[in-house]
Symmetry: C2
Subunit: 220 residues, 2 copies
């Protein structure tokens, strides 16, 4: 385990699961489709919303509409905590107490900065599009100037990011091993179904391979 980048980032519970290396953090951010952004509103109350993200190098970009309350708060320099969580399986223990999940998660703290440069906005649009399906940005129409104006991206650095990774079988207490109770892991994955073609699609356009063979980066 490497050193935590800040006191707040240090994984307090079950510290053997805390991992801070940038490659692990990056792989979790890249595999997850969405993240949850928490902030404190003007009344001092906690808020949390799911949103789409993309990572470019050591920067996390968060997507939103210019009109959304969360993006307004973030543009105003509100500190955020961002959670990214991948569920890899259910860990069935013999005791209820030891039941748990196998997961990989990241929390990022930071104060977002608005993306205002038009070239950077276009780069982020491409990254967000490729984040959901690698290769899509080569096909989809780039945003117009008006669409750029309607969109708000904010960015935070990954300076204060930490990951937790929980793998393996549950560890029951010795006396529980004699129980007639099944124990093991049920792996879980996010899996695509059959594409549902837009009924308004022009004839002669084949479903692209990034849809028919969709998978997350790093997954088989």
């Amino acid at each position: 385990m490497s050193e935590a980048p800040s006191e707040r980032t240090r994984v307090r519970r079950l510290p053997e699961r805390g991992v801070y290396d940038p490659a692990t953090v990056a792989s979790i951010l890249d595999e997850a489709l969405i993240c949850h952004v928490a902030y404190t509103d003007a009344d001092g109350r906690p808020r949390v919303i799911p949103t789409i993200h993309a990572r470019i190098s050591e920067t996390l970009y968060l997507h939103g509409s210019r009109a959304s309350q969360t993006q307004r708060s973030m543009r105003d320099g509100t500190e955020v905590a961002v959670a990214i969580t991948l569920i890899d399986g259910i860990r069935f223990a013999r005791s209820m107490f030891e039941h748990s999940m196998n997961y990989r998660s990241v929390v990022v703290y930071g104060t977002p900065e608005e993306v205002t440069d038009a070239d950077e906005l276009r780069t982020v649009f491409r990254a967000i599009t490729d984040h959901v399906a690698e290769g899509r940005s080569a096909d989809a129409r780039m945003p117009t100037d008006d669409e750029l104006r309607q969109t708000s991206f904010v960015k935070i650095t990954l300076d204060e990011a930490s990951a937790k990774v929980s793998v393996g079988q549950a560890i029951d207490i010795d006396s529980d091993h004699q129980l007639d109770v099944w124990a093991g892991i049920l792996p879980l994955a996010t899996v695509p179904g059959e594409p549902i073609v837009d009924p308004l699609l022009r004839e002669g356009i084949a479903t692209p391979s990034y849809v028919t063979d969709w998978k997350r980066p790093g997954r088989a």
Copy 2:
């Protein structure tokens, strides 16, 4: 659409997607394996963590260890915002701008109350166990008094809960329909793999049907 139970709960963005009926909220809470809990820490900073939950009637229970900082804060009467998000698919539009996700999400606001009654704690243990796999609580060993003492459950009512449901194809602007770009929905689902039996499992214990036929409530 029914009426929002409070001003804060009202869905501001894309209000046509806001749904407040308790049955929709309940079905999303029951299907989701985890939730994300946001709160403001003692320094006034936002925090967010993933955790396991269960719903019993109009109450949401959140699980944690007695030692965790989040559960300590929640036992101290900190207000929370809880997000529960199910991703149903990727919505491929012809323009990058109209790309989106099909999802069902709930946000619950409230001030958690600690569960202290031993009978209620046992009921919640069963509910959390059955939440991850319906029927498991009949097999798994109930918690000992010592395990109950090490566990912290908090509860919040669903009085301030709202759901957002986003379904259907992307709606591109008319001029984009002439583009040579595929459009449609790629459905996504959480799917189980092959169970990995604990190598320490006693011989002669079959894998139960709630593992081999695992699915979420309400899903085929």
